[in-house]
Amino acid sequence: MAIDRRSFLAALGAAIGTGLSPRGAFAGEPIYVSACTNANGVHHVAAFSQDGRMRFATTLPSRGHDITLRPGGRELVVFARRPGNWMAVIDPISGDVRKVVPAMPGRHFYGHGTFSDDGRLLYATENRVENGDGVLGIYDADAGYVRIGETMTNGPGPHDLTFLPDGKRLVVANGGERTEADSRDALNQGALESSLAVLRAGTGEVESHIELPRELRSLSIRHLACAPDGEVVFGCQFKGDALNVMQLVGILTLSGETIFLDIPEDDLLSLENYIGSVSLDRSSDIIAATSPLGSVVAFWDRTSRRYLGRRRMSDICGVAAAPERATFLVTSGNAGVGMTQIEGRAIERIGGDLDRWIWDNHTLSLDRA
């Protein structure tokens, strides 16, 4: 279903940040941004503070997925859920839509994107519709987000991506699924081509291409979180026999190897072969991975690789670092928003307005980005 470009732009032109907050109010205060849906099924992108107050809620023409902050804090970019026809540039304070960038003909947005350190270039994961190859679309933010080129991701179904700390290389999670034009269904079920590709941002050259061992070919690597030392945490979804159980969370180490993090069997089973989001805490020492299928968030210590336990929250998916160490903000599709610590007990609900929304897959912490 292709969206007619003009009506689509009109839809977003009429999409208004409701302007609940005075300008400039978020300095110093932790603000989170997430795609969400209201009780009537209308899709939005919303920002809220940690005390549960909504800062803005801007309507979107279809479900949003991830959000990225332009360095310098000038703009947020929201990506449509895959296969997506748009990305939207949003004012981070008011939520006003500044610009809508439709997908290039023959390409779909695939849900995630990230900026170069200087904030000039935006890299978005995209699908080449005709053959299912993964590409990174490159956009010049200074020139109104004009698409200046693209580079191959070396695998189908690119999803999340992250810059390494040198600011020169990008890691892309190629989910490995080839899909038909407008569909989300994999054509190559059972023979996924998932991989991590390390690309030179300047030239698009593939510096390394890491595939999982053959026996793990039904794992789809989807989400990433990069630590300041260059280790990249990845979360997977298992697409094979539902009666099988696979390790799901791993690290791309500094030496370029992939290792999977140990977890007790009871806890692994409760992840239901599905990780929806991964995050590092403020110190980057603690890893959190959420499973909306299992309604579980699990934690590890990144340095020691030690498993730290899990917490339960219905339909949990979004997870972002909170200001305090070893603390995360977590969001749910049917149980509001909460704060969770690796120490202590149940997840604490924030409540208030946040309970009124259906929170989508990812949450971005603004003051950390």
Binding site: I16, A242, L243, D266, R312, S332, G333, I358
Partner: protein, 347 residues
Amino acid sequence: MRLLAAMGFLLAFALGAPANAADHRQVALRAAREFALPRYEALAEATSSQAAAWNDACRSKTPRDLKALDAAFHAAADAWAQVEFVRYGPIGEEFRFERMEHWPERRNAVSRALSNLISRPDAEILSPERFQETSVAGQGFSALERLLFEEETRNGLRSSAPASERLCQVGKAIATALATTSRKVSDEWRQKTLPMLEQADEARAREAVTRLVTDLLTALEVVEDFKLVGPLGPSIDATRPTTAEMWRSGRSTRAIHLNLEAAGALTRALLGPNPGDEGQGALDAIESAASISENAPEDLRKAVADPRGRTKIILLRDAVSSARTIATAGLPPSLEITTGFNSLDGD
């Protein structure tokens, strides 16, 4: 632009207004009072009787007669199947759900956990406090069924051999844990969840309804994809009979029937006296699948490999599949909710 902003604000305000504040609370309260509370109370009673039966059995002289244990198991498993799919409320806390039943079994987790409990010599691991810390796969109905109905352990339980005592103590520990958890869940529904719903604001009331509907739709998915399609396998030459739920005790079809009946009962409670067209459609589809399951071959494990039996199981699968489609489309709008989507179609 400013005018548009003002209009957008008004629109957002209108959409966000709690038009059904009382309704969602009434819906949640009906589901609690007519469905959850009585069923959890029945489960607490049935599992308590089962624990008492094991207590008696372990004190009785060998060789043991297992008739009372069998009857107690079937009664408790019936009560469980009638509320099994609910995750909302106290069953979802402290990982209670996964302690109650561990199915589908993956990596032979139940078998390994049970062997471990049986082969360890210490009595202390079977004390209620320590037992909680053992593998959850060994703590619930799945492990108890295997202990009681798998030939080797069943013969062991009956016999006068020295190993019989340990088998009985393991069974007693599982039955006690099931009774304790079920009692806690029932009490907390009465003492915490129900009063919370009675006071709930619109957001919390709608959350309760949304999560119960999500649980209900998930139940239809589990019945179709795991309880039916799993054992059916891709063809009559490639069936997977031992992936059926509780096949050792011959409960596979009965469990499906009770699950579907429960799904119908919850749908009825949620919709109340005026279900509307879409709601009625969903209710009819679920009740039709439940009634087809009542006449499905009792031994699912055999039926999937028998041409005539297989046809009946496929018919049941189709009825469940169609109920799932109709309910997924019809229930959320008729109850004025939108189900959370992370667990249904994440990315």
